[in-house]
Symmetry: C2
Subunit: 201 residues, 2 copies
């Protein structure tokens, strides 16, 4: 049996360490879900110091995006849209952001692969459920505030998933052929009303 | 080699003929999509007269429901809700109907199985896309009327799929734990606004 070239003793390169952490993170996210996984656990699995995980990926959201091969960090994208601008136009802004990401094959492709795996793979389903709950519903709820903020953010998020599911996965017409502008114009008010039932109309 | 008991010459029973038609229909729907398939083609594949297909299943929608093992014929359910009542409450009525069907394991179970197969199976995806386009978007568009009825029905249908996807497939909270009444109360107005952008608010 031949000894592997990358055997004991050779110091791994930067990109190897990065990949090692990413692989460990992916395995751990799929096994443990989103919320329970810590940077420290990922570091332990990868056999590196936790400072290296921070150095390469910044945050848990960053490792998650990399582990799932996402060219866009969805948490950052949502956080930016939520913070930038007033509440009056929040739903249309989020809708436009989501459509732009999904419309671009470079960013939408990997997301489509994850969405495609959701129904068949219970681990992936749990992971996406927790991620959506925390990073989408949670972040939006925090921004809009109020007693039932989570409920309103969840119904909004459900409507968004429906647009994504129908347009990109199923390809239902005429939704699949509409421009981003047309969809935002048509659905912006309805989504805003889901977020703000009392003063959205 | 033993000869099968149900060999040549024996006349098939009623339930066997029904099953034979259903199997042929399922294969043909998956191979040919929803719209292109005719009662006549199903009959030919099953080796029976087309009158027998009508006798057992009534209509193409009926064969489809049976072929997909649906205990409820979705076309009939939508047609009934669309016809029964005014346009002012159309979206909440459709939402309540969909939630009732999906909430009941007897009817929601088989639908969940189909939805689960959609992302992984291109034939199933095409079939569901065509079915939703014709029997959901088409029927609702016909009822609401107007130049852009299809576009409004499609955006509405997308929102409905999102609620189903988030609640039943993904299980996003707090949507998954809400009562049907609460969801209808929260989302009815937003869905109605998607159907009637001008006078829905």
């Amino acid at each position: 049996v031949m000894k592997k070239a990358s055997g004991r003793g050779r110091r791994p390169g930067r990109s190897e360490v990065r990949e090692q952490i990413r692989d460990a993170a992916r395995a751990r996210f799929l096994a443990g879900g989103y919320q329970a996984v810590t940077m420290r656990a990922i570091a332990a699995d990868a056999g590196v110091d936790v400072a290296l995980v921070s150095y390469y990926f910044g945050s848990k959201q960053g490792v998650f995006g990399a582990a799932m091969a996402l060219p866009v960090n969805p948490s950052d994208a949502i956080a930016a849209v939520v913070a930038d601008g007033d509440l009056e136009g929040l739903a249309p802004r989020l809708l436009r952001m989501a459509l732009s990401i999904w419309d671009d094959p470079a960013t939408g492709g990997p997301l489509l692969a994850i969405a495609g795996a959701v129904t068949g793979d219970p681990d992936m389903r749990r992971l996406v459920r927790e991620f959506v709950g925390r990073e989408v519903v949670g972040r939006i709820a925090e921004r809009i505030g109020g007693d039932d903020a989570s409920a309103r953010a969840a119904t909004f998020s459900a409507q968004m998933s429906g647009i994504v599911f129908s347009r990109y996965l199923l390809g239902v017409e005429p939704l699949a052929s509409m421009s981003v502008d047309e969809i935002v114009q048509r659905l912006g008010p309805a989504l805003q009303l889901a977020l703000f039932p009392t003063h959205g109309a």
